[in-house]
């Protein structure tokens, strides 16, 4: 794993110098800001503020943002040919994939940290349940990690960034809304089981209420591990083509 920190640092620097990453950050902030503002307007008259508002909104926003953040990671190396140099450098395939993944997660963490501004505003004008907010933020941080890992798989799969992003979004949409299938077959038990397998099933009923459950952490961590494993295998398979 000696290569991981070196790959990680280059990749993180690439995020902070890439115009695309700034556009994504801008979209991220504009979207969360509008939501926050609307909720605040409601909160004055209708109901108390939702301490998990931003994380809750992010569960759906990430379906689109995460693949955009990860699409470049391996697809570009593949298309530009730099992957040939990486794969002939004395570092393992796993350390390359993990270094890149961690850079994406840290960049996402940075974006998430920016949204703490809203929480600071909230603390100053209302009395939100801070432990509730904290639980939801931990949840969305893990949730984000999982969606980025899914996005990475598709960046490893294809040379085209656009295709990688597109496939990543479809995969995340399916992972998020799969429980609707349960509703279609009109079987409540089946619906519940599928719900337990979806991205939202481990967030909306628990983290969004400020509840941290071990099984939810295991779900997201497991998803990350499996997706990283698949990505590493896909990179290895490049050698055989």
């Amino acid at each position: 794993m000696t290569g991981t920190p070196i790959i990680f640092r280059r990749e993180l620097a690439a995020y902070f110098t890439s115009p695309v990453a700034y556009l994504i950050a801008a979209a991220f902030l504009v979207f969360t800001a509008i939501t926050f503002n609307q909720d605040l307007a409601f909160a004055i008259t209708v109901r108390p503020v939702d301490p998990a508002l931003i994380p809750r909104v992010l569960t759906q926003l990430l379906i689109f943002i995460a693949p955009l953040l990860t699409m470049r990671l391996l697809a570009e190396e593949n298309r530009e040919g730099t992957l040939e140099l990486l794969l002939t450098a004395p570092v393992s395939d796993a350390s390359i994939v993990i270094g890149k993944y961690l850079a994406a997660w840290v960049y996402y963490t940075f974006l998430l940290a920016l949204t703490l501004v809203y929480q600071i505003i909230l603390v100053n004008i209302a009395f939100p349940d801070m432990s509730h907010t904290l639980g939801a933020y931990i949840g969305i941080w893990l949730y984000g990690g999982a969606t980025l890992a899914v996005g990475l798989v598709f960046s490893a799969l294809t040379e085209s960034q656009v295709l990688a992003a597109f496939l990543g979004m479809i995969a995340l949409l399916i992972l998020y809304f799969a429980d609707r299938i349960g509703q279609i077959v009109a079987n409540i038990d089946l619906g519940l089981i599928i719900f337990q397998l979806t991205l939202q099933g481990h967030f909306i009923p628990t983290f969004a209420q400020g509840v941290i459950r071990a099984e939810d952490i295991v779900y997201y961590a497991g998803l990350i591990v499996v997706m990283l494993f698949v990505s590493i295998r896909l990179v290895e398979s490049r050698r055989w083509r």
Binding site: R10, G81, L85, T88, V91, R239
Partner: protein, 306 residues
């Protein structure tokens, strides 16, 4: 330092490299020469550990490329065909990245040294995307040498650059001879002739000739080449007729005439002129030609279809 035995590579059911054997010793620059699609890049990709051979073994500095991949990768400097770059990095950042990834100890000093060696020092803050092709080629060399590898593999280092920069790259390659084993591919003969101690000619995945530029030229010494310009018939008819003449091994249309390679060391010119006139053609010009390495190359790679 590079030992290749029985190397085979299949892509699906297409065999790109068909059992080649060769060695490169330290202090030697060897040119891998072949036309497009001969299997040069495929061979080099197996040497650098980018992809595993289908059959056969490769040893680099005594380490097996498959079994001991990491040891091999530390000892090889590789410049792929079109120098791949990260366009948004600076020249210095790019070389530093590869230096660190390959575990160079004194990164700053080494990066400075290679940038100086390839005259990139004054451009070290420039973004890679703005480099000209020649500079990019030099960046590729800097990247390949930054970790001081004993084995250097360069895939067509002079492709697509102007003649002045070709000379620069060639001089740079030549300066590497000391203590390094250099394997360098090209499909331009004059280049290989000027830089290499030894040439390996490959075609359709097989070695079709090997030796110093001089020995290869001498391979044709027993033969003789005659250039004739003939009139009185279509080119196809004339060439078909020439091919049928005994002792003629190869006929190639060249300029306005034909380059005839003959088998024997007897001067075939009297026989040729007699036969051509008997057939009703007119000889406009006829002269003996010295066999050059280029002829060896073309003769070896043109005729042998699998």
């Amino acid at each position: 330092m590079i030992e290749v035995e029985n190397l085979v590579k299949r892509y699906g059911n297409m065999t790109a490299v068909k059992g080649i054997n060769f060695r490169v010793e330290p202090g030697e620059i060897v040119g891998l020469l072949g036309p497009n699609g001969a299997g040069k890049t495929t061979t080099m990709r197996m040497l650098t550990g980018f992809m595993p051979p289908t059959e056969g073994t490769i040893q680099i500095c005594g380490f097996d490329v498959v079994e001991d991949s990491m040891s091999v990768r530390q000892r090889v400097g590789y410049m792929p065909e079109r120098v791949p770059v990260y366009p948004d990095m600076t020249v210095e950042g790019y070389v530093t990245f590869w230096a660190k990834l390959r575990g160079v100890r004194d990164v700053r000093a080494r990066v400075h040294a290679v940038l100086e060696q390839f005259q990139l020092l004054d451009r070290r803050k420039q973004l890679v995307r703005f480099l000209s092709k020649g500079l990019r080629q030099r960046l590729g060399l800097a990247q390949a040498l930054v970790h001081q590898p004993p084995v250097i593999i360069l895939d067509e280092p002079t492709i697509g650059i102007d003649p002045r920069q070709v000379i620069e790259v060639r001089d740079a390659v030549r300066s590497l001879r000391e203590g390094h084993a250099v394997l360098f591919s090209s499909h331009i003969l004059s280049e290989v002739e000027q830089v290499c101690d030894r040439v390996i000619i490959i075609n359709h995945g097989q070695i079709v000739g090997e030796g110093t530029p001089e020995t290869l030229s001498r391979q044709l010494a027993g033969r003789q080449q005659v250039f004739v310009v003939v009139e009185g018939g279509s080119d196809a008819r004339i060439s078909a007729f020439l091919r049928k003449i005994p002792d003629v091994v190869h006929v190639r249309a060249m300029d306005d005439g034909f380059l005839i390679t003959t088998k024997s060391d007897v001067d075939l010119r009297p026989t040729l002129s007699r036969l051509i006139t008997q057939e009703g053609f007119t000889i406009v010009e006829m002269r003996a030609v010295d066999a050059s390495l280029e002829d060896v190359f073309l003769t070896l790679t043109e005729t042998k279809q699998p």
